[in-house]
Structures are given as structure tokens and as C-alpha cells.
Symmetry: C2
Subunit: 266 residues, 2 copies
């Protein structure tokens, strides 16, 4: 039985604005905790320390990959405003800063869409007709996190699994949390980094470590799986950018992410 | 004669990792310094304090809008690695933090494109056939920065100027610096926030203040104007997201940005 997202991101307050986290060994890729998972933990520290209940915008810069073990988090409230707060958070392991992030928090309950444009909800088969990502990549790298969450890819983007990537740099699929837990702003932050790298559909590689990840949460999602689409645009200097859009089960765009990651190509 | 970008973003070192900046009164919108301009100044502080010459990724969270006047910047090097450094920077005015940013710096000289996909260079008329943005918006708001830089919009996205926005949330045009100065990584950071808001083509409003802005610089641009395209996707809870892509004069994608901003709609 997989532990819930709430469990694997839980914090213990050890002093004012100082928390103990436990980086779960199952939420890893080749032994390294997933970047979006780490940022969700930092987001939880920010909303615990700040004045507002939800992560609105979070930007994390990754200094050292932590190991799946206990970690400390320090938070500093930079500003507590009426409509939003800003909090700086830092994940520390063995006295070394691993991830530092800035978080703007707000109350998203009243955030109803006024206008949307330019993006259409991807038209992909029902989850049952999609292809579940297994706990090991085509190149043999273990990805235990895929046995915790369920990622079901559109069959149109799974060429990489049989050595025939499409060359397009697009990845899309359905994402469910353990026990089909309803998504919240923190698990939406994770969702922006949950799919296999879109670059697998260019050329499969090993670990694609996050350098920077920014996520915006635009509303509270309805229950059910979320639909995630990621696009890579440029591989240059052994780095790749990737955007992510996340729709809830009603087709509302509820989160957006962008990341820069390292890649062993070029 | 407009001051150069190098001038209006220059810093004086006043102590180790502490700098004095002057926020130029001309680089403003309705009296407020442009967000991308502020982030470029913080980027300069980061590369001055850090070990690497170029901004690779910068994420700024905006706490209080500063006024066009002197400001202090504090930098702290979080990590100085072989290929990249991370630096935290903070812009302070009257003892109040105005913008805090995390910056990853690197050396971009060797960053040659290996693969690009999913984005085509917008096909728009030559700068001479485009429409220069004047120093005042259709609603009468002064935008002095538009008399410093030159933004020439694709005539297809200028419906807002005559009260007929297209409804599409897309903005694109050519951007030149004062004196046609060649772009560098810092002015590319500014370029990701240089055009009028893409939301003007949804519904014109007043100031659209940046809440969070993240920019990635993907290569060193060739001389000449850059082509910028911005897309808004969702207006919800009086906030809008906007992505920006920046191509150099040879058609290479050299910078990417995403921002969340406040907007008085919805």
C-alpha cells in the first residue's frame, strides 16, 4: 500500500519556521528524489510559515541533489501582505543547502477563470486506454516513484518505450496520486514535474536533473486524475527547458510549470 | 539621447556582495520601474557576486514596487560550482525588500543548439513595417520606457490601440535597446518582460504588476533587434500568466520567460 502524498510531504515543526521532513525513498528516480516532489515539500513549509493557505507561485533553484533521508527546512517570511505573502524556504541535508525556493502564497478559493485562451485541453484517450509508465525506464534506470503515482501516457507519445521516439518533444498523460487522493495546490506543484521528460520523445537519456523549476497554481482542482502536457523547446549546452500544463478532471487549467534541466545530449 | 542599457543597470560595489543601483525614472510604467528591468539589475548583481559570467536562470518574486531612485542590492552566493553557481539577490529601498530573486549563473559561450522543436519563429513584417509602441497607452497611462527602447509590434496584434482587441492574448514584435546596443544575457532577461501585456489584446487595463518572473537565457544572441512573442493563457482571481519567447536576429531562440502578474479583470 503506497503512502499518501500528504504523508510523504508531511513536516514536523521543530522550532519557529524550522521543520523536519523525510524524503521518501520511493519518490525517487535512480535514487534521487523527484524535483517537483521536493518543491511541494518546500511549498508546504512556506504555507505553514506564511499567512496564506495556498501556494500561488513557487520557484526553486536546485543546488545539490539530496538523498532519500531526513532533511531540515528553514523558512523566512519576507512579506506578509493582505492578499499574498512571500516566503523564502531552504532544504538542508548534512548542513548543506540542497534546494532554495521563493514562494508567493495566497488564498485560491475565489480564483474563478475570467478568460482562457491559446491552449486547448489535449484530446487523449481515457486513462484505461493509456499506457501506464512502469518503474523502470527503457534504458533500465529504476523509477520507483512510478509505482507510487500512476502516470498513464497517451499512446501517441510512447514511441520512446520501443526505441521509436517521435522526435517531437511532447509528453502527455493522466496523473493520479496514491489512493486517488484529490489534488491540492501542493500536489499540483509536483504534477508540473511528474511525467517522464518530454525529451524521451527526442532521444532517451538517463536522469534529467532539474536546475530550476517554477510552478503557478491557478485554482483548486476538482476530484479525479489530472491531465498533464509537457513540451520541450530547446536542447543547448546540455540543458533543456520544459513547460508543463495541468488540467483538472473538468478541463480547467489549474497549474502551469516551466523548468530548466540538465541533459546528456549535445 | 537615451542612456544605454548598460548605464541604467550599472552597479557600484559598496561592500563585498553589496551594491548600489539607481532605478532610472525613464525605465518606468506609470511611475513604476519595469519588472524585467529590475530583474536584469538583480542579475547583474548575481554575476558580479558569483563565479560565472552569465545569467542562466533567474526567478524573482516582487514584494513592493520600488520607486525610480537609488536602491541597494545584497547578494549571497549559495553555491559556487564548476559549471554553475547559485546566488540569492535582494533589492532594498528605504530598508524594505522590494524584489527577491534566485539566480543560477553559468558560462553560455559554448551553448550551441542541439535540438529545437515545437516553436516556429513568428513570421512578422520587417521592423520598418511594424507599429512602434508610443510612450502612452490607449487608456492614457504614461509608459516612458517605450521612448527608451523601441518596441515595434506586428500590425496583427495592435487591435487594442484602436479599441478592437483580437481577443487572442498574443503580443509580438521587434525589440531594440537604446542606440541599438547588442543584447546580452541581462538585456535578454529584460526582453522577456518588454512588450505591452498580451492581455491588452483581450481587454486593455492599467498597470499589470509582475508577481513572479522567471527567465532562462539559452545562448548569446547575435547583434540586431530581437523578436519577442508573448502569450497569456488564463486570467483568474485577478491574476494572469504570460509566457515569452525571444529569438535573436538569426532566428535562434535565445531566451524564454514566464510570469504571473496582477490584473484588474475578473
Amino acid at each position: 500500500m503506497a503512502a499518501s502524498f500528504a504523508d510523504v510531504t508531511s513536516l514536523t515543526t521543530i522550532a519557529p519556521r524550522r521543520y523536519a521532513a523525510r524524503l521518501d525513498p520511493e519518490w525517487t528516480i535512480a535514487g534521487k528524489p523527484n524535483g517537483g516532489y521536493l518543491l511541494a515539500i518546500l511549498g508546504r513549509a512556506a504555507v505553514t510559515a506564511g499567512e496564506h493557505p495556498h501556494v500561488l507561485a513557487v520557484s526553486g533553484h536546485f543546488l545539490h541533489a539530496p538523498v532519500p533521508a531526513p532533511a531540515d527546512i528553514e523558512a523566512e517570511v519576507l512579506r506578509a501582505g493582505r492578499g499574498a505573502s512571500q516566503v523564502r524556504v531552504r532544504l538542508i541535508q548534512d548542513d548543506r543547502g540542497c534546494v532554495e525556493a521563493l514562494v508567493t502564497t495566497a488564498d485560491l478559493r475565489a480564483a474563478q477563470p475570467y478568460w482562457t485562451g491559446g491552449l486547448t485541453v489535449p484530446d487523449l484517450p481515457d486513462p484505461e486506454s493509456c499506457v501506464r509508465v512502469p518503474g523502470r525506464t527503457p534504458l533500465g534506470m529504476p523509477v520507483p516513484i512510478m509505482e507510487q503515482v500512476s502516470v498513464r501516457l497517451d499512446p501517441a507519445v510512447t514511441g520512446f518505450a520501443t526505441g521509436r521516439p517521435s522526435g517531437r518533444g511532447v509528453m502527455r498523460g493522466w496523473l493520479s496520486l496514491p489512493g486517488d487522493e484529490t489534488f491540492d495546490p501542493l500536489s499540483l506543484v509536483y504534477a508540473t514535474d511528474a511525467l517522464p521528460p518530454a525529451t524521451f520523445e527526442v532521444e532517451p537519456t538517463g536522469w534529467v536533473p532539474t536546475i530550476e523549476l517554477t510552478a503557478y497554481v491557478r485554482g483548486l482542482p476538482e476530484p479525479g486524475p489530472v491531465l498533464v502536457q509537457q513540451h520541450a523547446h530547446v536542447i543547448a549546452g546540455q540543458r533543456v527547458d520544459e513547460t508543463a500544463y495541468v488540467w483538472d478532471s473538468t478541463g480547467r487549467l489549474v497549474a502551469q510549470g516551466t523548468q530548466l534541466a540538465g541533459i546528456r545530449l549535445g
